[in-house]
Symmetry: C2
Subunit: 466 residues, 2 copies
C-alpha cells in the first residue's frame, strides 16, 4: 500500500495533482491505527516518512486519545517541535502525555516563546504545572511573562525575536550586524530603528537595506509611517488594523513605549481564521471548543443554548395558547400560522446576517446606522408585500376563504416588516451594549419574529372571527 | 470642529487612544456631506488632510452615489491610487465617473497589475470598455492577460513583480543586481532561483542573502522546500495552503512550469477575510453583494431565498394539514407543536454549523465522517432526552394530561435525534455532490426538522387519540 509523500518541493515536471495539499486519507489513517494497535513502530515510522509536520498534526488530531499517546511515544525520539502548535488543545494534552514531561520540555524549548506559551496555556492545570516545574528557570521566566499577557492579546501573538538598530547607524553597520548574528529570526521582513530609550521610531525593509549603499545613514531611509500595537491590544483589533491598512508587520510596545516584540502578517492569518470561525460557530449556537470536545462535554456545551431556545419557543407557544379558542373555531389557522412565523424568521435572519457582518467589518457604524435600519425596514416591507401576494393566493386556493387569505397576507407583511427592523436594530443595540451581536442576535430575533408572526396572524383572525 | 488626523506614525509619547484605528466619525461624515453640498472643495480638502487612503476609501464607501462622484472630482488632481482597491464595486464605479476616463487611466497605471485587474473586472461593461480603450496598448495587453485568468484564481491574486536570479549566481551577484534595480517591488521577502527554462527551483529569504558572504553560491543556500501554485488554482485552495503550512509566499507557475508571479501572505489575508465573510453571509441566506446593493437590488437578491423557504414552510404546513382533525379534537397540539419543531431546528443548526465548519477547515473528512455522524446522533439523542424530560414536565403542569406530556417528550427525542443525524449527514452529502454546504445545508435541515417535528408529534397524537 503506497501513500503519496508530502508535497513535492520544487517539482520540475508539472503535475497539477501534486500541487494539491497533502491529505490524510482514510487508508493512511486506518494503516496507522492498525500499526498502533499492533505496536508496530517501524511501520508507523515508514508510513510517516516525508509527511509534513502540519499533516502529522492533522493525523494526531484525527486519532483517539489512546492512539495519540501511543503515536507520540513512538515518534518521541525525533519529534518535530513544529507539530505542537498545530494540535487541538486535547491532542496537545495527549501528545505531551505520550512524550513524557522531560521530552516535552525539550521539544517546547525548540519553539518560539509565543508558540510555547499558547500550548502551555491550553493544557490542563496538572499538565501545565508538571511542565512548568521541569522547565529551566530562565525559559520559565519568559513563559510566565508571556502567560501574563491577556489571552488573545497582541502580547500573546507577538514574537520577541526581532531585529532593531540605533538611529545613528549606517546601512553598512546594519549589514555587518546582520552578518555577525546567526541566531536571527528565520522570517523577518524589517529592521526596526529605536532611540536610546528603546522606543521604535522607524523601520526599514530588508529590501531597502539591500538597495542602499553602505555609507547611507539609517535614519535617512527609515520609514516613520506605521501603526504601533500595545501588548494588551485585542487580537481582533490587531487583525483589523493589518487588514485595513495592508500591514506586513507592526511593532509591539509595552505601556511605557518600549519595543518588546513584533507581529507579522502570517500571525494575523491564524487570528483571522480563528476569529471568523468562532463567529460562525457562535452564530450557530455552538462554542469554539465544540469541534474537539468529547461526547459528554459536547452535550454539556450545547445544552444551555437549546434550553434558552426552549424558553423562547415556550413564549411563542404561550401566544398561540392565548388564541386556543380562535384555533378551535378555525383549525386552518393552526395549519397556516407556522408559515407566517417561519417567513418572518427567515427574512429576519437575512437582515441580522448582513448587519452582524457589516458591524464586524466596520461597514456599519453610527454614521450610517439609521440608513441601514430604514433600508432593512423597506426591504422587509416590500419582500413581505411580494410574498404576501403569493401566499394569500395560495391560501385562497387551498381553503377558498378570501378573508382568511387576506388576514394571512396582512400578517405576513407585518411579520416581515418587523423582521427587517429587528434584524438591523438588534445587532446594533447589542453591539452598543458591548454584547457580541454574532452570538446573541439570532435568539432575540427569533423570539421577536415568532411572537410577532403568531400574534399578528392569530390576533387579526380573532378580531375578524369576533 | 476638529478631527483626529490619521494614525500617528511612530508616536514617541504613549497614548493608547491614538493606537486605535482611525474611524470615520458621524461628525466627519456630516461635515464632508455639507461641504460637498456647498461645493466647498477647500473645506473638503482640509478635512481630509492626513487621512489614510484606506480611510478615504471607507468614507467614499459610506457616501451616496452623487456625493462620491463629486468628492472624486474634487480630489481628482492629487488622487491617491491606493484608494481604489479598497472601494466597494459600486463606489469604484462612481469614483471613476468622478475622476473622468483620462484621469482614471492615469491613476490605474499607478497600481500593481493585479489591483488594476480587480478594479476593472468589477466595473460595469460600459465603464470597463471606456477605460480599456483609453489605456495605453502595452498596459492594456497586461490587463487583458490578467482578466483572462479565472475569477478568484491564483492568477488574479498574484503579483507579477518578483525578483528572481539564475542558480549559478553568487550572493554578491544577487546583491549587486538588487542595488542596480530601483524599480523592485516595495515589499518582497524572497528571491526566487530559476533554471534556464525559468522554472522555479528554489528560493532564498532576503535575510539569508544578507547573512551570507558575497562569494557564497546561491544554489548552496537556496531552500528547495516550498509549495508551488498554478495560475488557475482556486484562491480558497491557496488560502488553505498558506494557513496550513504557515507560508509567507509561494511562487506561481503557468501550466508549463514557468514562473509567472508570486503570492504573498498579505494577499491571502484579504482572501481569507472575503471567503469567510461570504460563507457567513450565504449561510444567512444573503449574497456577498448584499452589503453594497441598492434597495431595489437587495429586495431582488433576497427574494429567491425567501421563496425557497416558503416552499419548505408550505411542506411543513401540509404535514400539519394532514392532522387537522386531530388538532380539532385537541387544540393543545397546535399550541405545543411549534416547540417540538423549533427545538429540532435549533439542535440541527448546532450540528450543521459544526459539520460545515469542520468541512471548511478540513477537520471533517472521509476518514472520520462516520465517527462524526455517530457522535451527532448521540448528542441529539441525549440532549433530546434531557429536554424531553423538562418539556414533558412543563406540558403536564400546563395541561394536566400525562399522555399528552409523554407524547410531547417522545416526539422531542425523535426530533432531536433526527436533527443530529441530518445535521451531520446533510453537509457531508452536499459536499460530496460539490454543492457548497455553507449555503444549502440550512434549508435542507429546516425542511427535515420541521417535517419530522410536526409528523412525530401529531402522528403519535393521532395514533393515541385513535
Amino acid at each position: 500500500m503506497s501513500h503519496p509523500a508530502a508535497e513535492p518541493l520544487f517539482a520540475t515536471s508539472v503535475d497539477a495533482a501534486r500541487l494539491k495539499p497533502y491529505e490524510i486519507s482514510s487508508a493512511l489513517l486506518e494503516d496507522i491505527q492498525n500499526a498502533l494497535e499492533a505496536g508496530d513502530s517501524d511501520t508507523v515510522n515508514n508510513l510517516l516518512i516525508g509527511v509534513h509536520s502540519a499533516d502529522k498534526a492533522e493525523l494526531l488530531n484525527l486519532l483517539s486519545e489512546d492512539d495519540r499517546v501511543e503515536l507520540a511515544a513512538m515518534l518521541a525520539d525525533g519529534f518535530d517541535a513544529t507539530i505542537l502548535p498545530e494540535l487541538s488543545p486535547d491532542a496537545a494534552e495527549d501528545v505531551i502525555e505520550g512524550l513524557g514531561v522531560d521530552r516535552s520540555v525539550e521539544v517546547l524549548q525548540q519553539l518560539e516563546t509565543d508558540d510555547a506559551v499558547h500550548i502551555i496555556d491550553e493544557l490542563s492545570d496538572d499538565s501545565r504545572e508538571d511542565i512548568m516545574q521541569a522547565i529551566p528557570a530562565a525559559l520559565r521566566g519568559e513563559l510566565e511573562e508571556g502567560l501574563a499577557y491577556p489571552e488573545k492579546s497582541a502580547g500573546r501573538m507577538m514574537t520577541k525575536k526581532l531585529v532593531c538598530v540605533p538611529e545613528f547607524w549606517t546601512v553598512g553597520d546594519t549589514i555587518d550586524y546582520l552578518r555577525a548574528h546567526t541566531d536571527l529570526p528565520e522570517n523577518f521582513y524589517v529592521v526596526y530603528v529605536v532611540d536610546a530609550r528603546f522606543h521604535p521610531i522607524g523601520r526599514i525593509t530588508l529590501g531597502s537595506v539591500l538597495q542602499h549603499q553602505r555609507s547611507v545613514k539609517i535614519n535617512q531611509i527609515s520609514n516613520t509611517e506605521t501603526y504601533r500595537v500595545l501588548t494588551d491590544t485585542d487580537q481582533e483589533e490587531v487583525a483589523y488594523l493589518f487588514t485595513k491598512y495592508g500591514l506586513v508587520e507592526a511593532p509591539v510596545t509595552n505601556a511605557s513605549g518600549r519595543l518588546v516584540g513584533t507581529i507579522t502578517v502570517d500571525d494575523v492569518v491564524h487570528v483571522i481564521h480563528e476569529e471568523e470561525g468562532e463567529d460562525y460557530l457562535r452564530a450557530g449556537g455552538v462554542s469554539e471548543q465544540d469541534l474537539q470536545a468529547s461526547l459528554i462535554e459536547t452535550i454539556r456545551l450545547r445544552f444551555p443554548w437549546l434550553f434558552i431556545n426552549l424558553l423562547t419557543a415556550v413564549l411563542a407557544s404561550v401566544v398561540i395558547g392565548m388564541y386556543s379558542e380562535t384555533i378551535e373555531k378555525l383549525v386552518a389557522l393552526a395549519v397556516l400560522m407556522p408559515i407566517v412565523a417561519s417567513m418572518g424568521g427567515n427574512a429576519g435572519i437575512q437582515s441580522v446576517t448582513v448587519a452582524v457582518r457589516a458591524l464586524a467589518t466596520k461597514q456599519l457604524k453610527d454614521a450610517n446606522a439609521m440608513a441601514v435600519i430604514r433600508k432593512e425596514l423597506l426591504i422587509g416591507f416590500f419582500n413581505g408585500l411580494l410574498l404576501a401576494t403569493v401566499m394569500a393566493v395560495g391560501a385562497w386556493a387551498w381553503y377558498h376563504d378570501a378573508q382568511l387569505a387576506l388576514i394571512f397576507g396582512a400578517a405576513t407583511i407585518i411579520a416581515l416588516t418587523m423582521a427587517g427592523i429587528s434584524g438591523a436594530v438588534i445587532p446594533i443595540v447589542l453591539s452598543k451594549l458591548k454584547i457580541d451581536p454574532a452570538v446573541s442576535s439570532g435568539i432575540f430575533l427569533t423570539t421577536i419574529t415568532d411572537v410577532v408572526g403568531f400574534l399578528s396572524f392569530l390576533g387579526l383572525a380573532a378580531w375578524w372571527l369576533g
